[in-house]
């Protein structure tokens, strides 16, 4: 086998993956060692199942990285173990010992390949050891329970010096490794046990003790859980930090963000005090105070910027510590699909959507094995041979798609193939044959429920065990590992059309690439995965008519929509020349989306929204930008739905524009008007209202409700500005004020408004009544 680490063509990503696999394999081997010890002492189904899963994971992961010899050794270990499933009593000692030493060999060779150990192991000796153990068990099927810890201690030591034991039987030369490790071999001839180990084959550089005998007294205690204490660690090894410590740092970063916001608030207060002093005019007695305030304001501004820099750096560092792009797990799957197809004479293409999502490293590590199992399963079980696909009217190349989407603190993964689909009849038969369910129980299940049986341990529809399948382990591994991540897995299949595996799991950490854009005064996020491209609007590419817009894009006409209108913020407006347009690709269809500004793409952690907002289909979550402001992230699916339903304003009969710098006032006016069947757009300032009227035309609105007490443009100035155009003169305007004196009313009417209400009047339900009355008066006077 080639050495991937020293391969000059090896890319750094693969080297990183190999290093990660060493860590993963050490952890798995440590767990399996404990299980082996327990099984040898007492037996037990749960430990057996976990042991089988662990070996399967080692096999699959090694195969993914092209470590074929290691994959074959893991498969050989499965061969030795799995025939003993369901056997009562403890695991036979020779088998446990052979498995333990084979694990040692596996790890030693892996460390060597990853550059962490100078010398490797010849895995052929491990194969022989396993064969020998099988023969020993076959000749004496029931092994007495071993309780001799010292013996086990010896067996665990991987690099013990050769020990001369002349009085004991010596090993016979071992046979050559099997030519076809991928197939279950026929039962070997039973030979007397125990057979000693071979003469110094590389594996036999390690223990020379025979399988059935303990080491000499005084030998060293066992190395813990299969971990090789002599294995050199990478010089880049860092500290081991608990998750709680990292979480604590994340919370501190959040506190720092809030501290920075408070600094900004203090600066605004200082600026307000300065403004008050300035209103008094340039007086000598306030000069020193003003100078002091100016200095303080500048210093607070500088402190705020520095805090922002520290925060950004801290968050970036924490992100790199806690997360990795999911592509580090998904990219190796391409190799797995390729190799598997080549081995089986199939053709397939793996497409990955959303690979840029970054996830908690712990979640990624947990996902590595389930994803591998599912993709291999898709090739092995799902896809047909090219000829069969063509005969079924499909493309000869099968399609396997992995989609990743993070919504709030939930991660959704889909692994889909366009193969033959699940055979419910075969699943039913296998479940019955293997005692997983009775006839009566199966009779109660519909097809969808029967499909879920594929996740049960020991269920397989294959009659022959191969390197890839047939043991009923792989999907059980996937399900168990998903459960360990607090996730779940579900299969959906249509005969002849394919199978989809849907994985759902919480992802409290992690980030997604998001395009931040501006509509009106507000910024929003849109997942980058939804965006195919962007361009600038050009008048010659735009087509408007029949209440809809279209865009000439790549010589095709595609629908174009204004995001502000879809969000109910304004009337649809034709994009100005140079305005940014986003091209989205949803379900194979392209959609143009007009926005006011593209702020930039960012890696953002999308937080879950509170329940009051979570039910809205529009929003996927919210993220915090560097300055602490929250930005709402759109759900791409919703855009397609909103377009299908049509803009809210178009569906409603009467349209109102509410202008108020108070969020509460806008909310309450909107509530009152919507209860009367109005469609309401809002503006937070007089300037914003004028801009909306300019973009969409004053005639698009049936009434305007504006607060008088806004700054800098108050409701009176807004009214006067609107009344300067003919269309503006036709627009009914109702002014609202916290004050309700006669003078205020007179000023309102003098500005050209149709009516005047106090805020107290509005809240007591008079707004809707007044709007109706104003419209009636306008109609009457016309």
């Amino acid at each position: 086998m080639s050495d991937p680490v020293r391969d000059p063509e090896l890319d750094p990503l693969l080297a990183q993956l190999l290093a990660g696999f060493v860590d993963e394999a050490e952890e798995i081997a440590a767990r399996l060692t404990l299980h082996l010890l327990e099984l040898e002492r007492r037996g037990g189904g749960r430990a057996f199942d976990d042991l089988a899963r662990g070996l399967h994971t080692l096999k699959g992961s090694a195969a993914t990285l092209g470590l074929d010899a290691l994959s074959q050794l893991a498969h050989r270990m499965e061969d030795a173990l799995l025939p003993l499933r369901g056997r009562s009593g403890p695991l036979p000692g020779p088998i446990a010992d052979a498995l333990l030493r084979s694990l040692d060999a596996f790890l030693a060779q892996l460390r060597h390949l990853a550059g962490r150990a100078a010398e490797g192991r010849d895995l052929a000796a491990a194969h022989e050891l396993l064969a020998q153990a099988e023969q020993a068990v076959a000749s004496a099927p029931v092994e007495p329970v071993r309780t001799d810890v010292a013996w086990r201690a010896h067996a665990l030591r991987p690099r013990e010096s050769p020990r001369a034991e002349p009085a004991r039987p010596r090993a016979e030369p071992l046979a050559e490794p099997r030519a076809e490790p991928g197939r279950v071999r026929a039962q070997q001839e039973i030979t007397p046990a125990p057979r000693p180990l071979a003469e110094p084959a590389p594996l036999a550089e390690a223990p020379r003790a025979k399988l059935s005998e303990p080491p000499a007294p005084g030998s060293e205690p066992p190395a813990p859980r299969g971990f090789d204490p002599e294995a050199p660690r990478s010089s880049e090894d860092g500290w081991r930090v608990g998750a709680a410590q990292v979480t604590g740092l994340l919370q501190e970063a959040e506190r720092l963000r809030e501290l920075r916001l408070r600094i900004d608030e203090r600066r605004r207060e200082v600026d307000r005090a300065l403004a008050l002093l300035n209103q008094l005019g340039p007086r000598p007695e306030t000069a020193e105070a003003r100078s002091q305030l100016i200095t303080s304001s500048r210093a607070l501004g500088a402190d705020s910027e520095e805090a922002a820099d520290v925060l950004a750096s801290l968050e970036e560092g924490l992100k790199s510590i806690t997360t990795l792009p999911i592509r580090t797990v998904l990219e190796p799957l391409r190799r797995a699909v390729r190799d598997l197809c080549r081995a089986q004479g199939k053709e397939a293409r793996l497409a990955v959507v959303g690979a840029e999502v970054s996830l908690d490293r712990r979640v990624l590590e947990g996902l590595r094995a389930p994803l591998l199992h599912l993709v291999r399963n898709a090739v092995d079980h799902g896809l047909e041979l090219p000829a069969a696909r063509e005969a079924a009217g499909k493309h000869r190349e099968g399609a396997i798609t992995v989609r990743v989407e993070q919504q709030g603190n939930m991660l959704f993964l889909e692994i889909a193939d366009d193969g033959r689909g699940l055979d419910v009849t075969a699943i039913r038969a296998a479940a019955l044959q293997r005692g997983i369910a009775t006839e009566a129980e199966l009779a109660q299940l519909n097809d969808a429920q029967l499909q879920q049986l594929i996740f049960r341990p020991n269920l397989t529809t294959r009659t022959e065990v191969t390197q890839l399948s047939g043991r009923g382990v792989g999907l059980d591994v996937a399900r168990t590992q998903l459960l360990a991540l607090r996730g779940q897995i579900e299969a959906q299949s249509v005969p002849g059309q394919g199978t989809r595996f849907l994985l759902t799991l919480p992802a409290d950490l992690g980030s997604s690439p998001v395009l931040v854009l501006r509509v009106g005064e507000q910024q929003f996020g849109l997942p980058m995965a939804a965006i195919e491209s962007s361009c600038a609007a050009r008048a010659r590419d735009l087509r408007a008519g029949h209440g809809r817009m279209q865009l000439v894009h790549r010589e095709q006409l595609i629908p174009l929509h204004d995001l502000g209108a879809l969000l109910g913020l304004r009337q649809p407006a034709t994009p100005a020349d140079g305005a940014p347009l986003l091209i989205l690709l949803r379900n194979g269809l392209r959609i143009g989306l007009a926005v006011d500004e593209v702020v930039g793409d960012k890696e953002l952690f999308i937080r879950a929204l509170p329940p009051e907002v979570r039910e809205l289909a529009t929003w996927q979550g919210a993220a915090t930008l560097a300055r602490g402001e929250l930005v709402l992230v759109l759900r791409p699916d919703w855009i397609g739905q909103a377009i299908a339903e049509g803009p809210r304003a178009a569906a409603a009969g009467k349209r109102a524009l509410v202008v108020d710098d108070s969020l509460t006032a806008r909310a309450i006016h909107r509530s009152a008007l919507e209860s009367g069947g109005w469609s309401v757009h809002t503006a937070a300032s007089g300037e914003q209202a004028l801009e909306q009227l300019r973009a969409s035309g004053a005639a698009r609105y049936d009434v305007l409700v504006a607060d008088i007490g806004m700054v800098p443009m108050d409701g009176l100035a807004l009214t006067r500005a609107i009344r300067q155009s003919p269309a503006g003169r036709a627009l009914p305007i109702i002014l609202v004020s916290a004050l309700d004196g006669e003078a205020d009313r007179a000023r309102g009417e003098a500005s050209g408004a149709d009516s005047f209400l106090s805020k107290r009047d509005c809240a007591s339900g008079r707004l809707l009544h007044e709007v109706t009355a104003v419209l009636a008066r306008r109609k009457g006077s016309a």
């Binding site: 919370q251 913020l569 929204l609 009051e612 919210a622 969020l663 309450i668 916290a738 007591s764």
Partner: protein
């Protein structure tokens, strides 16, 4: 005849009286004090909504923050002013006036009260003014609570003033149940 009491005896008697008096005082000090008035009061944060006075239990109040820190949420129900970040959480800011059915407001709210309504998460409510602490007689509160199942409990204070004590859990429950106020 003299009283037959020597000066020493008189002094001794005086000492005994003093000791008895001191003992009495000590005994009085040792007695458990009557429960302070605070134990029979419910401290609340009081604020106006329009012409009416409302209050929330003070122990549910977490913070008062400027309303401008809110991010509006397009297409949300009218009673939802927006969302804000508070101590690392994303919190809903709700219009109290809209939740109560538009009972009027005089000044545009500028403050958000971050409260813990006892539903496992925080919410924020808008408010025209920073609230003032007020002590409510607990007996009157309990009596009024026993007679009301609504989102607010009407109280008449000893001064004769009327005040509505908000039952936050019911207020949120009603909003969740109805989908809107």
């Amino acid at each position: 005849m003299s009283h037959g009491t020597s000066p020493d005896a008189a002094a001794s008697l005086a000492d005994a009286e003093v000791r008895a008096l001191l003992e009495l005082r000590a005994e009085r000090l040792r007695r458990p004090r009557p429960a302070p008035d605070d134990d029979r009061l419910l401290w609340a944060a009081e604020f106006p909504i329009g012409d009416e006075r409302y209050a929330i239990p003070l122990d549910s109040l977490r913070a008062a923050v400027p309303l401008r820190m809110v991010t509006p949420v397009p297409l949300s129900p009218p009673h939802l002013i927006g969302i804000l970040r508070f101590q690392g959480q994303v919190v809903s800011a709700l219009s109290l006036s809209a939740l109560l059915g538009g009972r009027g407001w005089r000044d545009d709210p500028a403050v958000l009260l971050v409260v813990d309504p006892g539903i496992g998460r925080l919410i924020a409510l808008d408010c025209e003014q920073i609230p003032k602490p007020v002590a409510l007689p607990l007996g009157a509160v309990e009596s009024a609570r026993a007679q009301s199942m609504g989102p607010s409990v009407g109280l008449t204070l000893p001064s004769g003033a009327r005040l509505h004590l908000l039952e936050l859990r019911r207020l949120i429950g009603r909003m969740a149940h109805a989908g809107q106020p």
